[in-house]
Subunit: 387 residues, 2 copies
């Protein structure tokens, strides 16, 4: 009886053990495959606590110094080594938002290996920490109808038939209403960002899901192109910056808009077309929007500007008859943070437009040239679009 | 005359200079924002040369030792510091494929900051280098009609109403043929991978675009879930591995399939439904597929297996009447590389199925437990689906 009882028990244990060896191997396999040492203990990082302090952890048996760099603090802070070679530090409380951060390990910037949330960028690598609000923030994943984000691509004739990526948000209900057509926002990220940055960092999809659910924004399509058109900026003495702007404007008008209108159910009149962007994308927005007032009735520039000289040289027709321009433009939005390194220039441009009697909506916030501000700018500008 | 001539020239230069200062600032801004030191020189890495050697470069003024780790080589190789604090090394020629790699900077694994192509994973961070073939490889972006990849999410009742991510490939023509319904492949990645890995590393979308263009594969939808269902695997003595498999199978059948069929135009009979996966996802594939033969007529397991004990204990009905099973199953595919650490177990499982008189298609390749093999397995298995 005892044997009969023990036999299946042992067998079950054997099966479990065999499975567990299998899983244990697989657990550490990716590290082995990639040429890293086995990971050792299971690190969970970051951990956001109820009081909005956050603990960051990093496994580094050989490091001499590990620091935490993040946009929720001014300077990097030291981490200390605890059990099992894990360095950690608890910081905050942190004001609810999504922030880029990285570890500085013996002087080397490293993404958090335990964190999947990352900042797509061509020239630095950072992870993202999401500190939720007591009430859900406008970019939080909430229990509302969700749109989808589609990765697609188009052939750019302007860029010699190169296949270019495009990330497109379609709002909730898009699939279910196959007859309905939507207004479209072309949304451009900054220098060294990619076509993914407005999605992965800017949370454009979740912001619109929430604004639409709250009845604050019109359901719209958002097309997010890759702003780097490969025209090199050689340095301060290079004459190639204006051609880059112009070439992007051409790409937008000749390639991106036609592709989007062919592939998605888009209202194709200027009153239902907007362009917006951050930093370099804000400059591309201004150049494209002001060059093509017949195409765009909505222009939103986040943390960017045009010089007086560039504006007066290239866009005389835009301001020479302000009444006509103001009647045609449905929204001309400009925003910047008061700690942005472009703050004064952006303010000067706002003043210049006032001086030219061009109607604008402006927003000056706290904070700097950051994606925390990007989310805020989109959240505030999107409700004004297509109305 | 001279003045008249020079004036606009100077003015144009001033405008250009102003723009360039603006761009120069923006160029270095992301580094400043993220708390890294300014990047200094513009690093291009990797550079794939016509002879298929590849130069990798990394800016690290303070590093004492930088090495290149990559799946195209057995051991890390030393990099040397050249001009402007840039470490580099040229390796190869490399056999055409897409490989994960990283830099080991004073013992710390680092993604390539200059490279946008990355390996989505929960526990390590790697970049990707694409060495093209003389003729385009099956995963290459080619001039053929392209499908799209959609990021969406579903509410998982099995996971207590958690919002779960799902990445979905729809084939070329999906948008243009609003009446057409497609077969669907549920495709699961490995331990520590994410729902993005089959897209970003496995290139499932491009492989299908090319196979469809060549007339080799049926146009199909591919739904790529997040395989980590949060049930912890505590270690080799833990009894929780089988519940994790079973819970994932439940999630697939009760949440993922219904969501996919509601949201996409999917043929919903078992003959038009397949499940496939790699590593842990291969195990989840076997468990889900064998537990639900009424749901799946196609099962493809890449680099995974079930033990004889688990198979005989849990899936007796699958092999007790092999003629019936063989008549019902349209495809039961098993593949593994002969350097895979699971090679022998996978071979044993192939033998076990033969012994039970279950029809299978098997493929044993060179190489290990890698995503290079994943791409190959999908390329070879997909043409057999839904036929």
């Amino acid at each position: 009886m005892k044997i009969t009882h023990c036999q299946p028990y042992k067998k079950a244990n054997f099966i479990k053990f065999t499975f567990l060896v299998f899983f244990y191997l697989i657990m550490f396999l990716p590290s082995l495959v990639i040429g890293q040492p086995p990971r050792g203990p299971y690190v969970i990082s970051p951990r956001v606590h109820p009081d909005k302090t956050v603990t960051f952890s990093y496994l580094a048996p050989q490091a001499k110094e590990v620091r935490l760099s993040g946009q929720f603090q001014r300077d990097p802070v030291a981490m200390t080594m605890g059990d099992q070679d894990i360095w950690s530090v608890t910081v905050g409380p942190i004001n609810p938002d999504i922030y880029p951060y990285s570890f500085i390990v013996d002087g080397v910037n490293v993404m958090d290996p335990a964190n999947v949330a990352f900042f797509p960028n061509e020239y630095f690598k950072a992870s993202l920490v999401d500190v939720p609000g007591d009430e859900p923030l406008i970019h939080a994943l909430q229990d509302v109808p969700h749109g989808t984000v589609t990765y697609t691509n188009y052939i750019s004739e302007v860029m010699e038939d190169k296949v270019m990526p495009l990330v497109v948000y379609t709002p909730p209900g898009y699939e279910e209403s196959p007859e309905k057509e939507y207004p479209v926002l072309y949304l451009i990220s900054g220098t060294t960002d990619t076509e993914e940055t407005w999605f992965k960092v800017g949370k454009a999809n979740l912001i619109l899901d929430n604004l639409i659910a709250q009845g604050k924004a019109e359901p719209m399509i958002i097309a997010m192109p890759y702003g780097n058109n490969g025209i090199p900026i050689s340095g301060p003495a290079s004459p190639d910056v204006v051609p880059m702007y112009q070439a992007f404007s051409d790409q937008l008008v000749k390639d991106i808009i036609p592709y989007t209108e062919k592939s998605f159910r888009v209202l194709s009149d200027r009153e239902h077309r907007a362009v917006a962007g951050f930093s370099r994308g804000g400059g591309q927005t201004l150049w494209s929007g002001l060059s093509n007032p017949d195409k765009f009735a909505h222009i939103c520039s986040f943390s960017a500007y045009l010089t007086r000289e560039a504006f007066e040289k290239n866009f005389r027709s835009f301001y020479s008859n302000p009444e006509e321009t103001n009647a045609k433009m449905k929204l001309f939005w400009l925003s910047v943070g008061n700690e942005d390194f472009l703050y004064q220039q952006a303010i000067d441009f706002m003043d210049l437009l006032k001086e030219k009697n061009i109607d604008t909506k402006t927003l000056v916030t706290g904070g700097g040239h950051t994606w925390m501000n990007c989310k805020l700018f989109l959240s505030e500008a999107a409700p004004l679009l297509f109305k």
